[in-house]
């Protein structure tokens, strides 16, 4: 029995995938669970496992080539089995055509072959399958097979049309959705075990407990935030400003910070613990966390009729990739020492560059820092990554003439610009936040205390 290997959906937003490398050659024996290939998705390079055992008979999608989720990319079968029909189908492509020709039996195998989180197409396929069966059952005497078939095809056509819209739809039980929302969990990372991939309570709870295993602190994230209903004035501000610059009405506040002591501080840390070099970015992360603790309005998130204030500080660091950027997240910065932050950020940035980040490592930030210091940038404004409430854009440390006690001195200065969501934060708070940040960086002793 031949099994089709389809391009799996490996991340919530994945539309297509590229084969980086086939880990098996044609003719190799494959066991269920073996790594078949490394696949590049929109976010990371991930391993693709085999969902059935047999001989890897045919590789259809070559290395370096992309295919949409659900496309036939290889065939696993018995040694001498005739797979020419399937190969032909794969070549002729139009996935839709091929589905129509299939016998129900083969569809079974396709199901078995489906990615862990079935794509909408596959779900649809199952639905149709059920429909067919149902019709057979309900009308056993009716010999009008053709008619039934036509009906199914028609139905298919319509479904095909709306397929694109439905692809993004996540099936989740109301209760599961509620638990996930209360826990601040992104439902697109949860795998559904219910019928048609429906996410149920059990799945949400197990995702939460899994996350706890990885990062014990996440538990605090689950419950440790408070909600405050929007006041009328805030509602008006939110409405008006979104009209002008939407959907997130940004505003920007810039401050210049003297980095002399921070530079000295960093150099002393370097000699203190050579094995963990602390970067300016790490110092910024810690200083930001201290400032965020003092100004929780900024560590917040706008929702339709309320503001969510996080009692934990998860800071995302924007990391540039060749073809985009990603923000790995350091969790519970408020509880971590500078060395812990330095160690973690180094690991995460490396992983990010290798595109090896797991979804839980790049989601859930409550604040982001985008540092372009290494690119000789004086100053810039960053765009907020929703649903966060703010982002800090950091420029390079540049020597400048500054008046200090009525004398002109040459000092190392750095400009930072905070972009805030005006629906939840006003200018003064942003300014105060920067003042606090300035104090923490200009007198960095506070960072280690």
């Amino acid at each position: 029995m031949a099994f089709k290997v389809l391009m799996p959906r490996l991340s919530d937003t994945m539309e297509e995938g590229k084969i980086i490398k086939w880990e098996k050659k044609e003719g190799d024996r494959v066991e269920k669970g073996d790594v078949l290939a490394e696949v590049e998705t929109d976010k990371a390079n991930l391993e693709m496992e085999a969902y059935s055992s047999g001989i890897l008979r045919k590789i259809i999608l070559k290395e370096g080539v992309s295919a949409p989720v659900g496309d036939l990319i290889a065939i696993i079968g018995e040694k001498d089995e005739d797979i020419s029909d399937i190969v032909k189908e794969g070549k002729e492509k139009p996935a839709k055509e091929e589905e129509k020709k299939e016998e129900p039996k083969e569809k079974e195998s396709e199901k078995a072959e489906a990615a862990p989180k079935p794509t909408e197409e596959e779900k649809k396929e199952e639905e149709k399958e059920e429909m067919k069966e149902k019709e057979k059952k309900e009308e056993p005497k009716k010999e009008g097979k053709k008619e039934t078939k036509e009906l199914v095809e028609e139905e298919k056509g319509e479904k095909e049309k709306s397929k694109k819209e439905e692809r993004k739809r996540i099936f989740i039980s109301p209760l599961a959705k509620k638990i996930a929302e209360e826990g601040g969990l992104d439902i697109s990372i949860i795998e559904g075990s219910g019928p048609e991939g429906r996410i149920i309570k059990k799945d949400v709870l197990s995702t939460i407990s899994k996350a706890k295993e990885i990062k014990p602190e996440i538990k605090e994230k689950i419950e440790e935030y408070r909600e405050e209903p929007l006041s009328t004035i805030r509602k008006t501000i939110a409405k008006r400003l979104t009209l002008s610059k939407g959907p997130v009405p940004h505003f920007y506040v810039t401050a210049e910070i003297d980095m002399e002591r921070a530079i000295y501080f960093r150099n002393s840390l370097k000699t203190l613990k050579k094995e963990i070099p602390v970067s300016f970015n790490d110092i910024l992360i810690k200083a930001s966390a201290i400032a965020l603790e003092k100004f929780p309005q900024i560590n917040a998130s706008y929702r339709t009729d309320k503001i969510i204030y996080y009692n934990v500080i998860h800071i995302g660091i924007a990391v540039a990739l060749e073809d985009g950027l990603i923000t790995p997240v350091i969790r519970n910065v408020e509880k971590k020492t500078l060395f812990e932050i330095a160690k973690e950020s180094k690991e995460l940035i490396e992983k990010a560059k290798e595109k090896k980040l797991k979804p839980e490592e790049y989601t859930g930030a409550t604040f982001t820092i985008s540092n372009m210091g290494m690119y000789d940038v004086e100053n810039f404004s960053a765009i907020i990554n929703p649903p966060e409430g703010a982002i800090l854009a950091v420029g390079s440390i540049i020597k400048r003439p500054v008046v200090i006690e009525d004398k002109i001195e040459i000092r190392n200065r750095m400009k930072v610009t905070i972009s805030c969501d005006h629906r939840i934060v006003d200018g003064v708070v942003a300014a105060q936040f920067l003042q606090e940040l300035k104090i923490d960086l200009e007198k960095p002793i506070g960072i280690v205390l």
Binding site: S173, P174, L175, A176, K177, K178, S193, G194, P195, I200, K201, K202
Partner: protein, 327 residues
């Protein structure tokens, strides 16, 4: 507490209410000299005489209408239907007069009346004599519908029904008349409109009444062996329904199975599920599942009759489906 049958519990309620209030009287086919087709009115003719225990001709529309007239003038009739299948003949009287007169007279006329008798299937009584009609009556504004499952509930609720100033449809079951249960010896009533959590549980809420309640209890015992802990709500009154009790239970268990003997389409289970979707959707982890009679006139053949009715296995299957347990 005394252990008595469902039949005796109904008999006690009738007797005590007739002793308590001379306006209460019983009327129906063979309720007097024959003591009722199911021997519910045993001894009543002897104690209260022919003026208060009245044998009628076989004419449901007629004696129901006479009952309504008596109620309009201040008496408190209890009309016995030999079975609720025959009440269909009196539907015009019940729906157009009993249910509406209080409303249409602007409250000047009250109809303190009980229409009672067995409803639902017994054994092999075939299509015309096996119908569970509670949904029909629950559909009509102005009627209360009570359908108890134990002798204790039957007695307490029938007393409340007789004392109620509105027409109450009180449904018993032929197969439950011999059912024994504990009944308090002292005077008590059970309020109409209150449900009863007859079994506490945490995993799933099963809503079931009358005979179906007993099936649900059997299913729950079986499920317990597999580690599934079912909560069983006996609503006892279909209308007005104790919605809050149901909602609270679902908030706890997150899943619900509703069992009814009657046909599926537009049944009581449909109404309850709809209420659940409207009020506590966010607490559901699975769609509500209904276990109901099949959409056929009741077959006469024993095997087909069994297939057409809910049973323990069907309830267990539904519970597992809402718990996402493969079977």
């Amino acid at each position: 507490m005394a252990i008595i049958t469902f039949r005796e519990a109904i008999n006690q309620a009738l007797k005590e209410e007739m002793q308590r209030d001379e306006k209460v009287f019983l009327m129906g086919e063979e309720v007097g000299f024959y003591h009722g087709a199911y021997k519910v009115s045993q001894g009543l003719l002897e104690e209260f005489g022919e003026k208060r225990v009245i044998d009628t001709p076989i004419t449901e529309a007629g004696f129901t209408g006479v009952g309504i007239g008596a109620a309009m003038l201040g008496l408190r009739p209890v009309i016995e239907m030999m079975t609720f299948n025959f009440s269909i003949l009196a539907l015009d009287q019940i729906v157009n007069n009993a249910a509406k007169l209080r409303y249409m007279s602007g409250g000047q006329i009250k109809i303190p009346m009980v229409i009672r008798g067995p409803s639902g299937a017994a054994h092999q009584l075939a299509a015309q004599h096996s119908q569970a009609l509670e949904a029909w009556y629950a559909h009509v504004p102005g009627l209360k519908v009570v359908i108890p499952s134990t002798p204790k509930d039957a007695k307490g609720l029938l007393k409340s029904a007789i004392r109620d100033d509105n027409p109450v449809i009180f449904m018993e079951s032929e197969l439950m008349y011999g059912l024994k249960g504990e009944v308090p010896e002292e005077e008590y009533t059970i309020p109409i409109g209150k449900g009863d959590i007859k079994r506490e549980g945490k995993d799933v809420t099963i809503i079931a009444y009358s005979k179906m309640f007993h099936l649900a209890m059997q299913a729950a015992a079986e499920l317990e062996k597999e580690g599934i802990n079912a909560e069983i709500i006996d609503p006892m009154t279909i209308k007005p329904l104790d919605k809050d009790m149901i909602f609270e239970s679902i908030k706890k268990t997150n899943r619900c199975v509703i069992v009814q003997e009657g046909w599926r389409f537009c049944g009581v289970a449909s109404e309850i599920s709809s209420l659940i979707y409207e009020e506590v959707l966010d607490y559901l982890d699975a769609p509500v599942s209904r276990v109901t009679g099949e959409e056929v006139p009741m077959p006469f053949a024993k095997n087909l009759e069994e297939a057409a009715l809910p049973n323990k296995e069907k309830i267990i299957k539904a519970v597992k489906s809402v718990m996402y347990i493969d079977q």
